[in-house]
Amino acid sequence: MSIFSRISSVFRSHKLDQELDDELRSHLEMRAADNMSAGMSAEEAQLEARRRFGNPALIKESTRAQRIVLWLETVLQDARFGLRMLRRTPGFTLVAVLTVALTIGATAAVFTVVNSVLLRPLPYQNPDRLLTIAVFMPRSNDEVMATPQYVAFKTGSRILEDAGAYSPEDYNVSGTGEAERLHGVAATASFFTTLGIQPAIGHVFSAEEDRPGAEKVAVISHSFWQRHFNSDKDVVGKTILLDGVPHVIAGVLSPSFRFPDTSLQPEIMVPAAIPASFDASQPMLIVQAIGRIKPGVSVAQANSDLETVYQQYLAGTGAKFGAFFAGSTVHTRLLKTELVGPVRRPLLIIMTAVGCVLLIGCLNIASLQLARAVQRSQEVGVRSALGAGKLRLLRQLITENLVLSCCGAVGGIVIALVAAALLRAARLSALPSVAEIRVDLWVLGFAVLITLLSGLFFGLAPALWVNRAAPAEAIGKGNRATAGSGHRRVRNLLVVAELAIAVVLLAGAGLLVHSFSRVLAVDPGFDFHNVLTARVSFSLTTLRQQEPRFALIDNVTQEVRALPSVESVGITNSLPLMPYETSLSVIIEGKPVPPMGMSPFVSVAAVGAEYFQTMKTALVAGRHFNESDTRTSTSVAIVNQAFARKFFPGEDALGKRFRVPTPGPPAPWTTIVGIVTDVHHLGLAQNVSPEVYSPLSQSRIYDGVTFVLRTSELESTSAALRRIVAKLDPAQPVSDVTSMEQKLSASLAARKFNMVALGAFALLALVLAAVGIFGVLSYSVAQRSHEIGVRMALGSDRARVIKLILLEAAWLSLAGTLIGVGAALALTRFMASLLYHTRPTDPLTMVSVAVLLIGCGVLAGYVPALRASRVDPMIALRAE
């Protein structure tokens, strides 16, 4: 028993139906009886009564329509009928439902992401009034904000209701189990009030606790609370050590709390304790500032008010400061805009792609419905001749379309749910708020809306268009003749449009694939296989002195080197695929000295042990660092080829000397003793800049160092490394233990996500377009079976018939491809910023796409062609 008949049995009232029948019959009988008493024969009397009565079915229909219950029943009846019709043509139904499911699934999935990332409000109070405030420095083309400026804004602005600031800071956490290096944030008390954040337990810090010299407190994240305190409810008042300093826990954040900058995800928050006034002796902290503007104030108004405040502040500071900040202006942006900025364009491109898929799907449905409507025009004609009202027929068609769309939509929503779950599980760092990606009521509403629109517009319109003819015409012409060339031309147009759109998507995806392969083909300058990395970060409080730090590094190096699974060990303070640790300007011996502040920047890394050997970064010339390079010996350096090219074009860089420009007495010269190949430090797709490597023995260690271990046993070696460090110094955490391979794939994640997403949609578009061609040709074969029969009867052989149909497929594909490539050439330049060393009009990609599409088109035509070749001429001719 189908679900529909079960539902309808609730509503169905046989009694009402039966009574109406009886009533109309009694009417007829009474009329007939009167006719007989007027002298007619029984037969005449019956006939006359019926003639006068008109169409009893129609009367019944319109009488029933007066009753709501019965009206509902007709809807269900239509739905049942629709289902029956769909069951009768399983091929059509399968293709149509799959088309609807895939398109709605893809569209809803993308809308889910767009909704979660771009549209859904941030999880803060009145998020549309939250701004980021920064000072733009035209000299360095950079945005910066320091504590004095933040205080000036907070106290001086009339449009700010509240403002808060924070500064990321990592901590060595101890005092509760194993020592850990964790992300933290120093924030003002007003940070919480600005965003409107309530803790789950305890309190966030108050203005009193956020003062210099106040007792040290900390607010911890929910996951930190679970891990370190076993979800202890009485955690408030307990103490943890941050960089060795005791902090009293004030509160625990709620599990739903999201830090505005999702890349930070701090576990610990401490008061920033910004002093209310500044003098030159105090260090400035670089902060990120978030302001809440008063209701009714626009971003532009806020910007101009803050600009006034800022210029007044600058005028009030000393001349030295003023010169440093010369030309700087205030930049404010909505917090939301700031957060989604980098993913906006890729997401818009993916949204466009899925829009194209939706369009192709709709065109496919239109094409399918057109074919079906032509086949059914006789049936519809007969039904309207038998007295079915125009509205009644229309309702029938609408219901059928909706039944079809709904089946597809259910499948689509399932696809969207699965896609959202997969995306959440993938935890793509490329997408902000990836954890919040979920199918909500908005997404469901959106899916229902496109289902209704596509079902009604693309399903109904073709049916109406075909059935606009008078019933007599439809019945008279029969099945085959109604399929005039007009309908075929429209279907061909639809398919060509589908193919053209698919070509545009394939071209876009092809370009991304091409660009990705270019990125992967880049030689990173090191061998990223089988390299384990682990960072040891020193805090200001533990191992304050340089000597014990070096001693710890040496001891760890010795013990790790002794591990049987480790081939070699290296040390660096600036690991590739991470931001540069230090950048310095240099002066080259014997070259003109540029004016102060204009010297070019180079990045500097301190490396120790067998760093280059472990990373397999090739030495091009000169020597490696060795034991003779000590703190007291001549200062030496190894540079990369980019450095040699930039500063010594056409010369040998070996033996040349450079130094850092200093205002006082000149620093000693450093001699270049080796040249290594270029390492793509900031990522494969980033340009290589000049780099200097100095021996660890001649460097100072500030934050910490990263050990690089060449080993094929990553798991066991990383455990052994942790054990060694814990044994040598239990208070010293090891962090960021990953392989170089993982770092590389993380650095490519965003690029890969774009490629996979667009690729998936392009593939979907290709499949849908192929289904479109298949549908058109199958239909055309069915319509032309008579013609094909005649051809075969006249001596045409199978091969020729196959060729005839395949040629049609080829023509359609060729037309679609030509239009599509033209459109792609015009459109792909919008994605130029996503491409690496790939022209948006890359001819190889365009040709590959064209070949792929025509190939698929002809392949899709093969089944109908085979079917055509199996037409039995006798049957085809007799069917007349």
Binding site: G54, L58, S62
Partner: protein
Amino acid sequence: MPKNDQLLGSLDLLILKTLAQLGSMHGYGIVLHIQQVSDDLLRIEEGSLYPALHRIEEAGWISSEWRTSENNRRARYYQLTARGRKQLALEQQSWERVVKGVKSLLKFA
């Protein structure tokens, strides 16, 4: 389909009035009554009568029951309800106003 289109608006009135005069009657009887009383000027089409009867019943102006007719035939008999009587009065008034209006327009020449 109804041929006397101009009657459509007044069909409810005709049915209600007929039932007020006859007390209780089946569909066929209503058709005959209107035809006879109007000297064959007004003819109700079955195609509009039954939908109208069911609509009016749904509105609660008439009620129906199955009874045996004078010639021993089972038929559905309709009669006015209290609300139907009020409705009839209303419709009659508004109809008379329309007729008055049309008459004065015709006389105007």
